[in-house]
Assembly symmetry: C2
Homo-oligomer: 168 residues x 2
């Protein structure tokens, strides 16, 4: 396979995977493009390569900065901004985990904890079933949360290495 085709395929696959997991397709594609690019790119270059509008490129690049996945670079003597992606995959994974935990997992955990306190008749199956489901989910979500917390602090080799040793 040609490098050019491989790049294309990678960008498309990354976009598809992103959209399947609730991440804007274009954002995932821009990230993919920068990830495989040895040099920082300008907005112009991103627009050109992915055939997207200026507005779209601008918003998407800003979002990626907010996710902590890319950064702006400036070059002396130039006014243009360049964008460069963090290349360490484990750092990227942690960053994504961190953001999604904060944006999506934590609010749900908070609500679940509230819902657990609903009052009711212990004889009423409607009540007991609700309470049990909510409590169980809350417990599991707490476990997931702790595991993510551990992941955020850990080195890749340590994290996976230790899990594997354990489960062999």
């Amino acid at each position: 396979m040609e490098l050019a085709e491989a790049k294309q395929r990678f960008i498309e696959a990354w976009g598809k995977l992103g959209s399947e997991w609730g991440i804007n397709r274009t954002m995932a594609q821009v990230h993919a493009l920068l990830l495989i690019s040895p040099e920082a790119l300008t907005t112009e270059q991103v627009m050109e390569q992915l055939q997207i509008s200026r507005g779209n490129a601008n918003m998407t690049l800003r979002d990626l900065i907010n996710w902590g996945l890319i950064e702006k670079q400036h070059r002396s003597g130039e006014r243009k901004e360049y964008f460069f992606a963090e290349k360490d995959v484990w750092t990227i994974a942690r960053q994504v985990a961190k953001e999604r935990k904060r944006r999506e997992l934590e609010p749900v955990l908070k609500l679940l904890t509230q819902l657990q306190e609903v009052e009711g008749d212990a004889q009423d199956p409607e009540y007991t079933t609700f309470k049990k489901s909510v409590t169980d989910i809350n417990k599991l979500a707490g476990n997931v949360d702790s595991t993510l917390e551990t992941m955020l602090k850990a080195e890749e080799n340590w994290f996976f290495g230790s899990i594997f040793k354990l489960f062999k």
Copy 2:
């Protein structure tokens, strides 16, 4: 908080969480409804409670069956079908992990492995950067895949318990 309100909030939160993670909001809501319901429900009841159309209810219930999250029940003397959700949260988590692994992770893993074999000039930064990124992602994805595989076979207490013992 009233039970009725708590139920409502739970269903909404579950729907929102689902949609943030690429799962149809209605599907997540129907699942939530059945999860907190002590009895199996009919299509009619699901339509009524969530205010959705017959077609939508039917398709959604079928999808949930395909995800292995609910099952049909029949009652002697009745022609109506009843739907009942698996209530064990760890089983649900495993089921979701299994399906998403199969549907989304595995195809990407396959492609990454192909892309890793792209030929090129080892002096060309375009080539080396691409190759390194793809290889690194592939490695990480492989680790995730193995961990999920372990999770699929494990009991909840063992899985999380072991992780926690390790990371304390």
